[in-house]
């Protein structure tokens, strides 16, 4: 059973407690795992510690304008492109579905960032490695919820087994659709496209607002998909060329034999005369 996170943009207060909690939890992890004391860890900016980030978005023109905050977070995709493409095999999927970069294996090549349709992994200049949300797998596997989920005062972030979370999501969008008169979706519940599949972190939003929250209809990095095609094409091309060369070489060899025979024959003939 997959463990899902869910973000509800309707009940979100943009209080950013989730983001503050995330950064703080990562500083605690610095002490626990890397021996950086908490006193030191809370006295630095540490941009790499923010796995959740806000994007200010203004929509429309005054006075028919709105201000919303897009929530930049890892989706823990079913077909995690980062995991598939990592050259160091440094990205793994935990038993409950979280997609996690193993920092000791990461080589900082930023392929994960290049290939992520949502532009999530960030390259931490201080450590020389890529980092992204780990789904608080250490907390979840210890029976707790992710730090961001416990931080949310309006329960706009929930998490748990897939069926329970999605059931709550369905309940919520039923209420919203009825009372607010728009069409609401749970983005990531169903397969979005072949590139990402379903998501391990789904989002509730009005369908017409989806793009403002970076809930893309066709998430994909065109250049990197093209690159995948190139790799395939290159392999095929190389094979064809090698085969072609082999054929030509055999042909040449065979022809040469004939030539040599013919020349010998001539020589013999000349010699005989």
């Amino acid at each position: 059973m997959r463990y899902l996170n869910m973000y509800d943009s309707i009940s979100c207060l943009n209080c950013l407690a989730c983001m503050s909690a995330c950064s703080m939890e990562n500083r605690m992890r610095l002490e626990r795992d890397a021996g950086v004391s908490i006193e030191r860890g809370v006295n630095e900016y540490l941009p790499g510690s923010y796995y959740l980030r806000p994007w200010r978005r203004e929509v429309g023109k005054y006075p028919d304008s709105r201000f919303l905050v897009a929530f930049e977070h890892c989706r823990h995709c079913e077909n995690a492109q980062c995991l598939i493409h990592c050259p160091a095999g440094a990205i793994e999927r935990r038993p409950m579905g979280q997609v996690v970069i193993n920092p000791s294996a990461c080589i900082g090549c930023r392929t994960c960032r290049d290939v992520c349709p949502f532009d999530i992994p960030i390259y931490d200049n201080q450590t020389g490695k890529a980092r992204k949300c780990i789904g608080c797998y250490d907390r979840v596997e210890s029976g707790m919820q992710p730090a961001c989920v416990t931080a949310c005062p309006s329960r706009a972030l929930i998490s748990g087994p897939e069926d329970i979370v999605l059931a709550e999501g369905e309940d919520r969008i039923a209420i919203y659709s009825k009372r607010l008169g728009r069409d609401y979706i749970i983005y990531g519940k169903d397969k979005i496209n072949r590139v990402v599949g379903r998501l391990g972190w789904v989002s509730i939003a009005a369908r017409e607002d989806a793009e403002y929250y970076d809930l893309f209809a066709r998430p994909a990095k065109a250049t990197m998909i093209a690159r995948d095609g190139l790799k395939m094409g290159g392999a095929v091309g190389a094979a064809c060329v090698v085969a072609g060369a082999a054929l030509h070489g055999l042909y040449l060899f065979a022809k040469r034999k004939d030539q040599v025979k013919a020349a010998e024959h001539d020589t013999k003939e000349n010699a005989d005369e």
Partner: protein, 257 residues
């Protein structure tokens, strides 16, 4: 003025030096780049970790518990990346003078079309390739046949593209994300192009019928004049027109050996 010189200079010293160095650079580029392009080549990455692993595994002070497979691969990839970048630096340093000199003489490049252009000329050239490589006949060509010219232009473009995109990838933070991602694509595209073309190039370079050219590149740069006269008639005529070399009557072309 040379009267009946035995050899004609096919490749200058700069050209030979550049080519032969680039050959080595390419080997390093390809070996260190492949594991980053595709995990199908991860074994190369692990290979690069052997010295590190040896030290790390054997001496507990460097690695308490020995390396996992992943750490090995990771270390190897790091080494590969460093080698890739050092090679890039050397390549660029070596390329600059080469490019400068070549550009000075751009008008006399042998890879421009001969007298005629256009699809008809192209088709004639390709037909000539067939005659040469399949029927083993002789064709009137300049220094390079059309295949070699197309190869050269492709390589110029691809190497330029791979270098520029490589520069972006080496100094990623100076460029926007869109430029970075596009550069990855260009880097891969140009590598695939170069790689496939290199296979052809290597094969043809090692063909017995092209042996004199191989020697020209790897020895003193010269081709026997007779050979030039029989195999690259146009080139020979151009040279004699320019330099006043006394042409011997063209002998019956010999079959290549």
């Amino acid at each position: 003025m040379n009267e009946h010189p035995e050899t004609i200079v096919a490749f200058t010293q700069l050209q030979r030096s550049y080519h032969n160095h680039v050959l080595h650079y390419m080997i390093f580029f390809i070996i260190t780049g492949l594991p980053l392009l595709s995990t199908s080549f991860s074994f190369i990455g692990s290979f690069f970790a052997i010295p590190y692993d040896f030290l790390g595994g054997a001496y507990p002070v460097l690695s308490a518990s020995g390396l996992t497979d992943n750490e090995r691969l990771s270390a190897g990839l790091q080494v590969a990346r460093v080698i890739h970048r050092i090679t890039a630096l050397l390549f660029v340093v070596h390329t600059i003078p080469f490019v400068v000199v070549q550009l000075i003489h751009v008008r006399s490049w042998a890879i421009w079309p001969e007298d005629s252009w256009g699809p008809a000329a192209l088709f004639r050239g390709i037909k000539g390739l067939w005659v040469n490589y399949v029927c083993f006949g002789h064709v009137r060509i300049g220094k390079f046949n059309v295949g070699q010219k197309l190869f050269a232009w492709t390589m110029i473009l691809a190497v330029t593209a791979i270098t520029l995109s490589g520069f972006v990838l080496m100094f990623r933070d100076q460029f926007s994300e869109g430029v970075q991602e596009f550069s990855r694509f260009v880097h891969a595209a140009s590598f695939v192009t170069i790689g496939v073309f290199l296979i052809v190039h290597l094969y043809l370079a090692l063909l017995p019928m092209n042996r004199p050219s191989l020697y020209a590149m790897f020895r003193d740069g010269g081709l026997p004049t007779d050979y030039v006269r029989s195999h690259h008639a146009l080139w020979y005529e151009n040279l004699t027109r320019k330099k006043g070399i006394d042409p011997k009557p063209a002998e019956k072309a010999e079959h290549s050996v």
